[in-house]
Structure formats: structure tokens, C-alpha cells
Amino acid sequence: MAEVARPLKQGESVEYTWVWVSIIVLLVAWGATYTQFPTLAMVAVSLAVGATTVFSVRQSQHDSQKKTEQTNPLPSPSSDEVPPRIRAINSALRELLAECEQNIQAVKSTQDDAVHTLSTSFSALRELVEEQQTLTKSLMTFEGSEQSYAAHLKDFATETDETLMSFIDTTEKVSSSTQSLMTQVEQIYQAMPTVEKALSDIDAISSQTNLLALNAAIEAARAGEAGRGFAVVADEVRALSTRSTEFSGVITQQMSMIGEMITNLEKEARFVASIDLSQVTNKKDHIKGQLGLIAGKASQDLSVTEALSSLNTRFSATVGDAIRGMQFGDINGQNLEHTAGIISMITDQLDTHNISHLETQMEDYKSQLVAKGQLDHNPVSASSMDAGDVELF
């Protein structure tokens, strides 16, 4: 590069400036062609051709001047005649382009590596989130049921509250009924002595009947044959009296047992009636409050479940955006490869050293560019990471 920067001699300087301008403009033309700016390319090529023509005219004038000065004809041009200055420029340009090509390859390699790492990470992240989603779902729902655990818990809390309240109400009613039952049992118990007295009276009557029958039988015996029939009647009356006494005994015994049972019943009823339901009544509000808390937590869990579901949807959308964005690796990679191809082609073209044929070569380059522009093209059209068009045939 130091050689390139060396000042040129007067006269040589003007001519080689045109050559330099031609090369630069031609490079711009190449670049413009491949960046899809045909108008700029055509302007640049026109400038290059113009510069070449000026250079050729000046060269012709220079040659004519030399012919006038020297009568001997000039030797045919060869690569050896290329001025050292042009060769130096050519060489420096090739070095720069080679460096550009290496840099492009390095950028593409780094980019490919980075995109691959990112892509792998996002794929793994997506799988982890899906696994988390599955686990969360299994935690929140029962197997074989579409309803969530929280919804089940809420229903259970509501049903338990209703059942418990119903049970407490029933218990209070039973307690109240027991008081009434005890009163009635006491009434029955109070009626027992009346029954016992009636039985005692029956026994007394039976005993007197038995005594009367005995007296009747004695009197019948004294009457002799005439009282025989009366004696039979007296015996029957006595037998009835005995049976009546027996029945009375059985009834007395049963009444005694009933009396004992009523006593026990009264004792039990008194015990039930004496149970203090105030604790249950007091706990009623506390339990109702606790069940309300459970139902509230279940509702909150339901909201969390819905929020989790919404979060997963948003996460999927975010990963989708990331997947769309990360395709810059492929898109820019193709762009870089294409640009590297252009630089490689320019480097190959710079191998030409024969300056005497520059005009012809410029025309050739122009034709080649046109032909290449028609056959070859940049495969990338995207200028942003917005999703591309879709067309179904």
C-alpha cells in the first residue's frame, strides 16, 4: 500500500487517474448489479466506458506524439509493458478483496455457530416448557376428567358446607325433639301407679270372688243332693277367679318390666337432652369460614390454572417469533455466500495485467456482467425478518 500512495509523475498521473477511476467505477457497477440496482449499474458502466475511452484517446495522443518523435515503430504490447504503478494497485486491490472474502467466511462461520447454538437452546427450551406444561396439567387435573382439581375442590367444599350445615340443623332438631320425648315419657311414667292400683283392685276382687266361691261350695255341700249343681257353678267361679289372679300377676310383672324400661328410657332421653350442643353451634361458623377459605383458594387456583394456560400460549408465540427471527442465519448466510462469490469473481478478473488491452477488456467485462446478471442472481430477497409470503398452487 505504501507503493500505491507514492506520488505519480506529472502527465503519468492524469492518465493513470482515469485507469483508477475506471476500475473503481467498474467495481461499483459489479456491486450495483448484484444489489439489484440496475440503473446505478448502467450509469457506473457508462462512466467506466467513458473513462476508458478518454484513457484510450489520451493514450493514442501520447503514442502519436511518440511516433512523431521517434520514427521507429513501437513493439507489440505485452504484460511486461504494464506500468509498475498499475501492477501495485492491482496487487493491493487483490489483497484487500482476499481479506474481505476471508472476513465474510469468518462472519458466516461465526453466525452459523451462534445460530445453531441459539436454535438448539430454543428447541430444548420449548421441549422443557412442554414437559412442564404436561406436569402442571397432571397436577391440576384428575386422570380421566376434564375438570380441574381446583374446580373439584371448590365443588367439594360447597357440598361439604351444605352437608355439614344440614347435619348440624338436624342435630339441633333431634335435641329439641328429645326434650318433648322426655316429657311424654314422664307422663307415661306418671300413669304407671294408676295402672298398678287398678291391677291391685282386680286382685282384691279376684280374691273376694274366690272366697265367695269357696263359701258357695261349702253351702252347696250342706244342701246335699239338691246343691250338687250349685257346687259345680261354685267351682267354675273359683277357677275363673284363680285364672283372673294369674293374669293379674302376669300383667303386674309386665308392668314392672315396662316401668323399668321407661325408667331407662327416661334416663337415656335425659342424657341426650342434656348434651350441650353449644360447641357444635359455635363451631358451625368456624367450619363455614374454613370451607369458605378452601373454596376461595380453589377459585384462586382456577385463575392460576387459566393464567398458566395463557402463559403457555404466550410462550409458544414468543418461541415462534424467536424461530422466525433466528432464520437470519440461513438468509444472511446465503447473502454472504453470494457476496463472497462476487468478490471471488472480481479477484479473478484483476489477474489481467495487460493495460494496453484495457479498453477491450472493459467491454468484455461489461458483456460478462450483463450475461452474469441475467443468469445469476441473489437468492435472497428478504430485507426484514417479517414472515414471507405463502402461495399454494
Binding site: 424461530i323 437468492p379 405463502v390 402461495e391 399454494l392 398452487f393
Partner: protein, 121 residues
């Protein structure tokens, strides 16, 4: 039974991103690095859908489509091109080769899945 999809792209990252997208939607996925690799896989087994890039080494997307359409088992298989190419000329060449559809990169996962559902029915 999940549909079997063949994804053809020379870019490792694109293959990976398409695979992640399709597997999340419960598709079965097979990957191929270029047209030639895909053709060998298609001769070995059948697929319900082929998603292919256009610009690839050894064999490009359009050549792959032409080769697949000559196989009896792939004459009716949907083949969608997923590429950076967006010119009408290229799309017409794709249609002429037998492509079912044309998607321009970058693709959105949702759009890709919608296209697959529409094509697969």
C-alpha cells in the same frame, strides 16, 4: 397415527427449527441435508408431506420435485418449497416442476402449521 413429514434443507438451524415446530404439533419428522439425500430417503420409504428448500448443494429443490414426481409413490404427495427465493419466475418454475405450494423465508411456525393443515386436510 401422526403424519410423516420429510424436511429437506442444507441449513442445520432451519432443519432444527422446522423439526421443533412440527414435533410440537405431533408430526413425525425425518430430515434430509439436500435433494440427493432426500431422494434416497424417499426411495426407501413414503412420506405424507415434503417440505424442501430450493438452493442446496448436489441437488436443488426443483430437481428434487421433478425426480419425486417421476416416482409412482410421490405423484400425489404434497411438496411445498420453503426458500429465500421470492421471484414470480422461480414460483412459476416451481409450479411447473410439480410443487404444491411456495413459502418464502423466514417462515412463521403458526403459518407453516396452518399451511400443513390446509394441505394435509
Amino acid at each position: 397415527m401422526s403424519k410423516h413429514i420429510l424436511v429437506v434443507d442444507d441449513s442445520v438451524s432451519i432443519r432444527q427449527m422446522v423439526e421443533t415446530t412440527l414435533k410440537a404439533a405431533h408430526y413425525q419428522v425425518t430430515l434430509a441435508e439436500d435433494g440427493l439425500d432426500a431422494l434416497e430417503k424417499c426411495k426407501a420409504s413414503t412420506f405424507d408431506f415434503v417440505l424442501t428448500d430450493q438452493n442446496m448443494p448436489r441437488m436443488d429443490g426443483l430437481s428434487l420435485i421433478k425426480s419425486l414426481r417421476s416416482l409412482v409413490t410421490f405423484q400425489r404427495t404434497p411438496i411445498v418449497v420453503l426458500t429465500t427465493e421470492s421471484s414470480d419466475d422461480m414460483k412459476q418454475r416451481g409450479k411447473a416442476a410439480g410443487a404444491t405450494g411456495w413459502m418464502v423465508k423466514p417462515f412463521s411456525p403458526d403459518v407453516l402449521l396452518n399451511v400443513m393443515r390446509r394441505v394435509l386436510g
